[in-house]
Symmetry: C2
Subunit: 259 residues, 2 copies
DNA sequence: GCAACTTAAACATCTGATGTTTGCTTTGTC
DNA sequence: GACAAAGCAAACATCAGATGTTTAAGTTGC
């Protein structure tokens, strides 16, 4: 009845601690519709099937479909008008910061242009987060970062390494003690997972280059050195940019602004 | 039956172009519950009334309440468990970047601590946005910024000025041509509205100080000067910080990280 | 050619029944 | 008395079907 999400999307939900509880029918329908919309199966402004057709297609009752549609409306993907139908809104109206919307992007081939935007945001957010973490993190929060670093060092599989990497960056966001930054962890996950999917042709190289950069960030935060944490994170971001540029032809760093 | 939203919240929805269409019952119930949760009427993890009680209280049917609850679950405010009840999640799990959640914050007295976090994010985002806008904005996008500037100069009421101010910053976000930054306009609106609510004791002063700063940003973007746009925006942010610090005792700028 | 009316499509809401999960209570045994 | 299994009630999940409302489009009449 439902299409299964792919590995990246599952990994995304894992990282968001959103797994474990079996989602209801409404959530399943919502996700399946959401994946199709994000994948571009519908033109901007196109009408989707009406309630009855959707009921038939998914084999569920009207209430379930209605709830699913309401969820997608809440995420800005759909727009319902009584009398006419339910249509797909233009991409500029989507809540691109929503975790589900970002997760559904993991299900499709990453577009270089969107990945660059994600990386620009990382470049903007993470050095600040590292700096704030260095000046305001509690001991417990620093422990969390250190644990992630240890897990990266110990990781034996690619998947373990990716998860530890993600947890490292999440721990820094949380240690920044800014609720809004914490709420952006989904964006960082999305950029990170997409980057890895593209650059892991030589995972060993990835790992050898990453580890010392992460260590440097951790040490700066441990030392309460805000500036150094910030610049170490900048270095890490620049490294990621460089690796993406090597692999991805359409990926271009807007050097002008970043000098 | 329903509590009416206050002026700031209405203004927020106006800016988000979310007005005009009469929301359905489910949306109304969702907003009212959302306001109460954000306002802190429920302890973390507290059970809210069950479906039947909510039906009675709001005078609507089960389906409506169910949809409203599903919406709040989607925003991370609620968590439902079959058998037990529906409970309020801890604040760290809320989607604080969601436009509705931010709008509901407008309904309550702004907490200095949260306002500082909002301003830290503005300080992080807007200089970058201005820089990218300077290097990549189209003529149409620059026109939009200029129109907002003109509207600020011409504004005769405080409300007109606030709206034009918000549109100015939104136009810059959009001109940055980064979909994720565009999706953050709600955060900027929220910070801006809260700031104004606090610092508009002397609105004339506000206006006289703001206008030249905005003009400087506009001119830099018109001149395609990325660095100047960035630093002009920094100056504007610093000014806002300073005015907030003067009025708000609990508001403190973390100077250490920003040098 | 245009305005007023009609109608069908599609969403909005309500009602009430039935299934399922969970947590608590009760009961029975050792 | 302790503990485990069975039973029960609360609360959400889903379904089915009826009725109301809004919108868009077609139709008629002048």
């Amino acid at each position: 009845m439902f299409k299964l999400p792919n590995m990246s999307e599952l990994l995304y939900y894992d990282l968001k601690d959103a797994a474990g509880v079996a989602p209801g029918l409404a959530t399943q329908v919502c996700r399946e519709l959401g994946r199709r919309i994000v994948a571009g199966h519908f033109a901007e402004g196109a009408l989707i099937d009406d309630e009855n057709k959707l009921c038939d297609r998914f084999g569920v009752s009207k209430s379930v479909v209605r709830e699913a549609v309401k969820l997608l409306v809440g995420k800005g993907l759909l727009e319902v008008r009584r009398g006419s139908g339910t249509r797909v809104r233009r991409r500029a109206s989507w809540n691109l910061l929503d975790d589900d919307v970002l997760a559904w992007h993991q299900g499709i081939e990453p577009r270089p242009d969107f990945l660059r935007q994600l990386m620009d945001v990382r470049q903007m957010v993470e050095p600040n987060a590292a700096g704030w973490a260095a000046s305001s993190a509690t001991d417990v929060q620093i422990d969390e970062i250190r644990n992630a670093q240890d897990a990266m060092e110990r990781a034996v599989s690619i998947q373990e390494f990716v998860i530890a990497d993600a947890l490292f960056h999440r721990a820094i966001l949380r240690a920044s003690n800014n609720e809004l930054l914490t709420a952006m962890e989904g964006v960082i996950f999305s950029a990170l997972l997409s980057s890895i999917k593209i650059t892991n042709d030589d995972p060993r190289d990835n790992r050898e280059r990453s580890l010392p950069l992460h260590r440097e960030i951790l040490e700066a935060i441990e030392a309460n050195d805000s500036d150094k944490a910030s610049s170490a994170m900048c270095k890490h971001m620049a490294d990621t940019y460089e690796r993406l540029s090597n692999v991805l032809p359409g990926f271009r760093l807007k050097e002008a602004e970043r000098g």
